[in-house]
Amino acid sequence: MILAGLIILLMGCGVLAWLAGRWNNTLPRVISLIGVAVQLLVVVWLWLTHQRGPESGQWIMTYTHSWIPAFGIQVKLSVDGLSLLMIALTAFLGLLSILTSWREINKRVGFFHFNLLFVLAGITGVFLSLDLFLFYFSWEVMLIPMYFLISIWGNENRTYASYKFFLFTQGSGLLMFLSILGLYLIHGQHTGVFTFDYEHLLGTVMAPQTAFLLMLGFVIAFIVKLSTVPFHSWLPDAHTQAPTAGSVILAGLLLKTGAYGLIRFVLPLFPQASHQFAPVAMVLGVVSILYGAKLAFAQTDLKRLIAYISVSHMGFILLGIYAFNEMAMQGVVMQMVAHGISTGALFIIAGTLHERIQTRDIGQMGGLWAKIPKMGAMGLVFIMASLGLPGLGNFVAEFLILTGSFMANQTLTIIAALGLVAATIYALRIMQKVFYGKEQKIWVIADFSIREMCIMITLVIAVVWMGLFPSAVLTVSRPSVLKVIESVADRKAQTREAQLHRRTNRDQKITMTGASLPGHHWNTNPKKAN
């Protein structure tokens, strides 16, 4: 009930905020702040009371309620370590994005907060749903308000950006919906039980080709969200044009839903097909890392630059997920949280700068440190975080991912590691162009206010804490990560056997698709898992 309450709370506050916006501009802000703060408190309470919970990877808490029984659709919400982390991040960034837009948004405040809270509600739904229909439902619910946020409160080119965002995500989402329906019907026809329940669908038996096609539907939706090259082109536009709060949510949360979907749904539902797809996914990940970094280096628009940094960092996530081992997967979880915080912070800084000097062109900035030392210092912290400086969260994440994927694919990992070098170059370029160097124009500009300093300091604490005590995050996610790895590895043995059997029966000359994967670490996996 608490879990459903979280979503209802956000939606309810959203509607209230809209209504309140008719009379007063401050009231909607206060209402949304309270709503999200309550969510954060509940999540923290969950975290503290259930942290040492079940090791076997069961759910910490589940809520089930029948919704459309005619189709076997339920409201099934569950939280485990992974989703707990994600909703914690959602509430945290949600709170900060309301605070950042406190002064920035002055038009149609009520409707703005309505949309903001509905996006957060949709994202919370995505992270909690264990019913595939509900999952898709939440997946779509977060799109429309996000579209409104971009298209109403965005910057100069907002219409184009919001269209692009919407069509990319909606189009790919519908493909996923087809896959969900396919899975539902195949399961139903085999067992006679028509249900969208994730746990029932887990063991669905189907032909490898079908599984692969169905998996592709899911994967496309998720990697579009993850903005993997070649599906990344919506991201720079959307991030650049969105208002600050929108950029924070886009970069910090929406991208993570893609990664979450891959971990929670694609790997456990289609273990065998995922193995077939792994080489492609890893290559895409590496391409994203390098291509994103290269483009980030070439940008002159500050927000666009940060957007391409996200593309690059999401490449690491894809690489890590398809390495199929615990270390890489833990790194992925870490990266999801750390990137959310560091990029969120960078977008807040870029947004604040834009609000004050009305430009995002880094060619016109320079030498700002002298005028706004607080902003400069904060900028330095988060730029260091995103280039992976040891001691901050992102370092731990990238280190784990690279170590983990080195066990799976050495060549690709070596190439991916070059991304870290590129990261140093583009990150330092921001510092150089914006805060150091010669002043290009004489700006009259105010430094961070107390409110903004509070936001930034919370973020700094979070990112340092994760860098110094990563185990606080990693122990929470460990049971869920182990479960995912197990489900992939477990069934892998069976499916390989089945594959071998069938192939020898049919045609011995066909080379095995799975054979291109290095085999040794699969055997070590279950051991590590224990």
Partner: protein, 478 residues
Amino acid sequence: MSAADILSLLPMVILAGGILLTLILIALKRSHLLVFISTLTIILAAIIAALLRFNKQPHAIGDIILVDRFGLYYQLLLLSATLAISIFSYIGLERLFPDRRKEEYYLLLMLATLGSAMMVISTHFISLFVSLEILTISLYTLVSYYREREKAIEAGLKYLILAAMSSAFLLFGMALIYAVSGEMSFHGLGAVAAHLNGSSTVMLVAGTGLMIVGVGFKLALVPFHMWAPDVYEGASSPVSAFIATVSKGGVVAFLLHFFIMADLYRFSKVMLALMVIAVLSMLIGNLLALMQNNVKRMLAYSSVAHLGYLLVAFIAGKGMGVQAATFYLTVYVITIIGAFGVISVISSSVDEATEINTFNGLFWRRPFLAALFTIFLLSLAGIPLTAGFIGKYFLLTAGLEKSQWLLAFVLVTGSVIGLFYYLRVIVAMMKTEENNLSVIQSPLAASAGGFLMLTILALLIIGLGVYPGWWIDIVKCL
């Protein structure tokens, strides 16, 4: 006819009798409000009669008419749609015709509804054709009712010629089928068709094909869709809504009846033809809608696409397919009436608000109305939290259950294209620049009625989108 027969037809009897009474009423006293109220009363009475009948045993009148839950459900749907449309008509008429010729409109409206509502319970070519003609002939007049307007006569003539032609196709198809089977009732046809041999089957398939052409015209499916945008544009918004919902709804119900009772799903050639029509409608309808700057024309093409979606469920056939088609049609009717209702509420005097740029900034001028319109458009686009999404889900499930992957893919592609033009209208409404078009306020009471109706429709859409279970249960036991 026995008393039981008449009792089973009570809703239709009320409607037909009501039309005569209203005719007398107009002769006695010309008052727009009075006629409007009597229309509402008659339709409400018919709805109540149908509701009382709903849970009773099916009743067949010879081979000609079958009153069962399926038919009554559709009758209720069509009658309720007419109820909503007549409210919007009142607002529109008050504005367009300050002084004359307002009363007869309602007669035609009710007559057309009668035709459509008879069509859904027909199980015989004769009853079908008679009710179809009642519907169409009333519509010719309704389309060109505002003859002072620029495009009304043109639209009326276009509709007349094409509808007459489609009736000819339909008749020829029926004749072929009768020639080969000697049967005119759907049941009898089903029984005879099972024993036909080679050459007779060809005739039967040809006859069905011709009937599909006729029906395709009525439903404005590609490649028989050319009339739709012109007629929608030329007719007033409530009449366009009527054509899009009541007229098409009746034809869809007939088609379902016909195909199931005569068991025409056996003929793979017929199904192939329908499949081609469905694919073309979904793609071409959406692509053409993309290019429109006139909202009514856009809605016309989008309804071509929506009927194409509906065919996906229709092709899936008995069981899930029929349920999905029925549910989708219900949602489509609610949504389209809402969308046209908004257009007629915001229209000023003779010029209807149809160009896309009249909607600029509506969100900031009339937030409530714009929010309602957004809900309707999102439902047409099939976005979650609206009924349109559940409807589309239902269609896809029905299609995929019969492994119609091609149709499902085209449906999805169509939806993505569709988003583009629905979003265009929404984006226009969100534009910040002020539009200096003044909005003429209609008489307060009527306007309030229109608002109330729109709010109810929007709540239905959200309600069905969030909690569709109860309605699906109703549709499942038809």
